[in-house]
């Protein structure tokens, strides 16, 4: 049985990968680096959710 606790850790890692990648790509556009929890446009939110799905799939299989 695959441990649920380890899996939650994997999910957290998958999310942090997306956040790091996103911050890197959008660093230049974001004038205020302390502006956390910034609301994304619908388009950006869809893109971010797709990245999350992808990252969860890849990180879990790894």
């Amino acid at each position: 049985m695959f441990s649920l606790r380890s899996f939650i850790f994997v999910i957290k890692r998958a999310i942090s990968k997306v956040q790091a990648q996103w911050d890197q790509e959008h660093n230049d556009e974001n004038e205020d680096p302390n502006d956390e929890n910034k609301e994304l446009s619908d388009e950006d939110l869809d893109k971010r959710i797709s990245l999350l799905v992808e990252s969860i799939t890849e990180t879990s299989w790894d």
Binding site: F7, K12, I15, S16, N37, I49, L52, V53, I56, S60
Partner: protein, 197 residues
């Protein structure tokens, strides 16, 4: 185990199979004899004084265990196994907390506030009932009581407005959180796929 029964400690039997050792059956069945103010348990040729704090937990990793009716009747069953739907909701909450901590915190505060409002309303009701009970024969002549009733009504109306506002905010947070559902769905799906491999 004898020591734990007499000193009031907790015992956990882990990874049980379907066959349970017959020696612990008197404990599971609570076959106590009352003697004076205490409970006596007879196991084999020993008589044990059962401490009121003694607890017994039986744990199994079997997904669908079959235990005899006498065990099922004596135990409280708690199912900790993960379901796909349950895991999906758990992952959704985790993802939203990591992605939008502000919304997760607002939702948490709303839940706390709702609880506080319910307690306030209940206290108001109790207070009103108590005042009415002790109001005497002519309620209308009791100015203090009428003032208190008006004040209670005002507080109750305020709480209702706050509850309605809270509900609207909570609904908007839920609608936003649902957008992350596909990522939670994928996570839960992979977890169960991996367990079946």
């Amino acid at each position: 185990m004898f020591g734990a029964i007499e000193s009031g400690k907790t015992i956990v039997f882990e990874n049980l199979e379907e066959n349970i050792d017959a020696t612990i059956m008197p404990v599971i069945g609570r076959n106590y004899i009352k003697r004076g103010g205490s409970k006596i348990l007879k196991i084999g040729d020993r008589e044990l004084n059962v401490h009121p704090n003694f607890k017994l937990f039986l744990q199994t990793k079997l997904s669908n265990p079959h235990y005899p009716p006498e065990i099922q009747a004596e135990c409280t069953l708690i199912n900790f196994s993960v379901t796909e739907e349950g895991l999906e909701d758990q992952l959704l909450a985790l993802i939203v907390r990591l992605e939008r901590e502000d919304l997760a915190n607002t939702k948490e505060e709303l839940v706390k506030a709702q609880r506080k409002y319910n307690i306030q309303l209940s206290a108001l009701e109790n207070n009103l009932l108590s005042q009415l009970k002790n109001a005497g024969d002519d309620i209308l002549a009791n100015i203090k009581l009428i003032e208190n009733l008006e004040e209670s009504k005002r507080i109750s109306d305020d709480i209702k407005i706050k509850v309605e506002e809270g509900k609207k905010t909570e609904e908007s947070i839920i609608v936003f959180s649902e957008k992350y559902r596909p990522s939670a769905e994928r996570g839960a799906l992979i977890f169960f796929l991996m367990n079946e491999l």
